[in-house]
């Protein structure tokens, strides 16, 4: 790694506080994070550790209480609709629950057409749009002819999540925030979806941030791992470093919670 990588997205001292007075909750506490071009980064933590809040701040869906976010070295400015739109051409997301990610009143075509429109394809001829949608669907092993004029809720959870990846294929963002994309999916589809995601990353060369509670998954996919506990990063480093030689107690606990198939389970501690 001699060539210096380009810094895409970085956060400095980001803090998010929900509520006021006594009901104040510190969701994200003074977090710094740097994302370089082409990296796969995992943020691992248990439920309520602030992972999703941090991802929404990075996406610009909610604003941080304190701290700054820099995009490509410049302070992020998303104060108007046009600027937000421009920002979201570069950063996109896949959400945890595929069943609630789609507007149930819109057909699948609408979801994909929105992406083409966003990439400036609003006035493409109809044939070209269909060709693009077919290509995106076949990338994730879906058949566009079978999906057209259907509603998202007519698909299975795995198919919906693959459609989400097809969406990313059409949008070609620089950064993808995947917020537990496989946690609601059965184990068989999980590997397929991860493979498709990694394949897509190779194809369009994007940076991926994985938000997950599954430290095994993080080890499987990522270059760099951040361990998050109660709103702050307790440990970070390359995946091998953090997972093979954990230093923090919380990381050790997360690792010990991973069920091991080769060993017999010790039920005495349960």
């Amino acid at each position: 790694m001699t060539r210096e990588k380009k810094l895409y997205l970085s956060a400095k001292g980001v803090t998010k506080i929900f509520g006021l007075g006594r009901q104040k909750t510190l969701a994200v506490d003074n977090v710094d994070i740097d994302l370089y071009e082409g990296e796969v980064v995992s943020i691992v933590g248990e439920s309520g550790s602030g992972k999703t809040t941090l991802s929404k701040i990075l996406l610009g869906l909610i604003s941080q209480t304190e701290g700054e976010i820099f995009f490509q070295g410049v302070k992020r400015d998303i104060n108007s609709h046009a600027k937000k739109r421009e920002y979201w051409k570069n950063i996109q997301a896949i959400f945890q629950d595929p069943f609630s990610s789609y507007n149930i009143f819109n057909k699948i075509d609408t979801v994909l057409l929105d992406c083409i429109n966003m990439r400036g394809g609003r006035y493409f001829p109809r044939e070209k749009k269909i060709e693009m949608m077919t290509e995106a669907c076949s990338f994730v092993n879906l058949k566009f002819e079978e999906l057209t004029n259907k509603y998202p809720f007519e698909l299975s959870g795995g198919q919906m999540q693959r459609l989400m990846i097809a969406r990313i294929f059409l949008l070609q963002p620089k950064i993808l925030l995947a917020d537990e994309p496989t946690s609601m999916i059965d184990a068989c589809s999980r590997a397929t979806i991860l493979d498709e995601l990694m394949h897509l990353r190779k194809e369009i060369g994007m940076t991926i941030i994985f938000i997950t509670h599954d430290i095994g998954l993080a080890y499987y996919v990522s270059d760099k791992v951040y361990i998050m506990e109660k709103g702050r990063f307790v440990e970070s480093g390359s995946a091998d470093e953090v997972i093979l030689t954990p230093r923090h107690d919380y990381t050790k606990r997360l690792l010990s919670d991973v069920p091991k198939i080769h060993e017999e389970w010790d039920l005495s501690t349960v």
């Binding site: 937000k84 051409k89 997301a93 789609y102």
Partner: protein, 416 residues
């Protein structure tokens, strides 16, 4: 669209509600074509004529007479002419004569007349019977004998030269006329009201006007509530604070008091049905706004809204496409509730004399008001108010059924 309609008409709730509502609407539309009388025309001299078929007596004389020999016709006639007071007086005399009270059935006309004819003696006197009483019983006996007579009634006309009466026709007790041959017959299925107006004609017109008031009031209230709720719920921040401040002010002032004050200040002359409807709408949007706002707040952080934002859609597009469809069934329900509450608010205003001015159109509220002022409920004139209540109930019932049916279709997750 076609699919949605098929789904709607497969729901039994909707079909029942729609049928009731369609019957009401069709009646309102077709009835005025069949009977084009102005609804507020006074046709009866006198108040509260009972429901029934009214046959012109004068025309019956010129209609051809038919003779029918029917069993029991005489006793029916006598029974209808012998009123309760006479029956009680006959019973009193018979008890005085010495017949045990429990043997006299005053409702059985034939048995009573038999007892009377065999026992009555004008010369009999009992203890405590005054002369006036005795004369009264003699008169009663004469009228009873008159009822039993089989002589025809004579129709006479005044002779203009002599000034005397000249017999023109005789009506036998067994004479009948065919109602279809009488030139003037008026059916009053719900009788007349206190002013002598046909209640059914009035009710149909009133239903039309009240539905219009309900729809306009519901539309105004739902529109204001929906727009304010959507904007304040989705945009949030100081916009939300500002709108909620106004909403809270309207919440703490009872809307009915506000309604009374506004109606009163408009003045009797300017209060048309449309004005009243708009005023009702302007005072009842508060709960719709609050409910829509809380629904929107729970929706605005859902993933599908976030996804729509990430797809670069504008606030307006997101509100219309990603928020509105999710609360559509709720808005329809609120709209239906607003319609029925609009109809009820109009009734409440009318009872206080603050409803639409009374000279142009009837409304369901005004009909209830008239029935109440002229004490129809105390006098037992059920036809003046009961059909009105039934109509209001049917409108509300049918709309709620339609709403339940539509809810299953608007919300695809509820589809089976």
């Amino acid at each position: 669209m076609k699919h949605t309609l098929q789904q709607i008409f497969r729901s039994p709730n909707f079909v029942v509600g729609f049928s009731i509502f369609a019957v009401i609407i069709l009646t309102v539309l077709i009835y005025p074509m069949l009977i084009p009388d102005p609804p507020l025309k006074i046709i009866a001299q006198g108040t509260f004529f009972e429901p029934g078929i009214y046959v012109n007596t004068y025309d019956t004389f010129s209609a051809p007479a038919y003779t029918l020999k029917l069993e029991g016709a005489d006793s029916k006639r006598i029974a209808s002419k012998l009123n309760d007071e006479d029956r009680l007086a006959m019973q009193k005399w018979l008890v005085g004569f010495g017949i045990p009270e429990n043997e006299i059935d005053i409702q059985n006309t034939e048995a009573l007349l038999d007892l009377w004819n065999t026992n009555f003696d004008p010369s009999k006197r009992f203890q405590g019977m005054t002369n006036a009483d005795r004369n009264y019983y003699i008169r009663l006996n004469n009228s009873v004998q008159g009822l039993l007579s089989t002589a025809p009634a004579i129709i006479a006309a005044t002779d203009e030269t002599t000034g005397g009466l000249v017999e023109t026709d005789r009506v036998q007790q067994s004479d009948y006329i065919n109602v279809s041959q009488v030139s003037n017959v008026r059916i009053l299925p719900l009788g007349t009201d206190n002013f002598g107006r046909d209640v059914l004609t009035e009710l149909v017109a009133a239903t039309r006007v009240s539905l219009m008031i309900g729809f306009v009031a519901g539309f105004v209230a739902t529109l204001i509530g929906l727009v304010l709720g959507l904007v304040s719920g989705y945009v949030g921040g100081w916009v939300d604070d500002g709108i909620m401040f106004i909403t809270n002010i309207f919440t703490v002032i009872p809307s009915f008091v506000l309604l009374i004050l506004i109606s009163f200040s408009i003045g009797q002359d300017k209060r048309g049905a449309f004005t009243i409807a708009t005023v009702i709408g302007f005072t009842s949007w508060v709960w719709t706004a609050r409910a829509v706002r809380s629904q929107v707040i729970s929706l605005r952080n859902r993933d599908h809204v976030n996804l729509s934002k990430l797809s670069g859609h504008s606030i307006f597009y997101i509100i219309v496409n990603d928020i509105l469809p999710y609360i559509a069934s709720y808005v329809v329900m609120a709209f239906i509730l607003q319609i029925s509450s609009g109809i009820l608010a109009e009734a409440g205003l009318s009872i206080l004399g603050l409803g639409p001015r009374t000279t142009e159109v009837p409304t369901l509220g005004l009909m209830m008001n008239w029935a109440m002022i002229y004490q129809a409920h105390i006098l037992g004139k059920w036809w003046a108010y009961f059909p009105v209540i039934i109509t209001i109930a049917l409108i509300a019932f049918s709309m709620n059924l339609m709403n339940t049916g539509m809810d299953q279709v608007f919300n695809p997750a509820l589809r089976d």
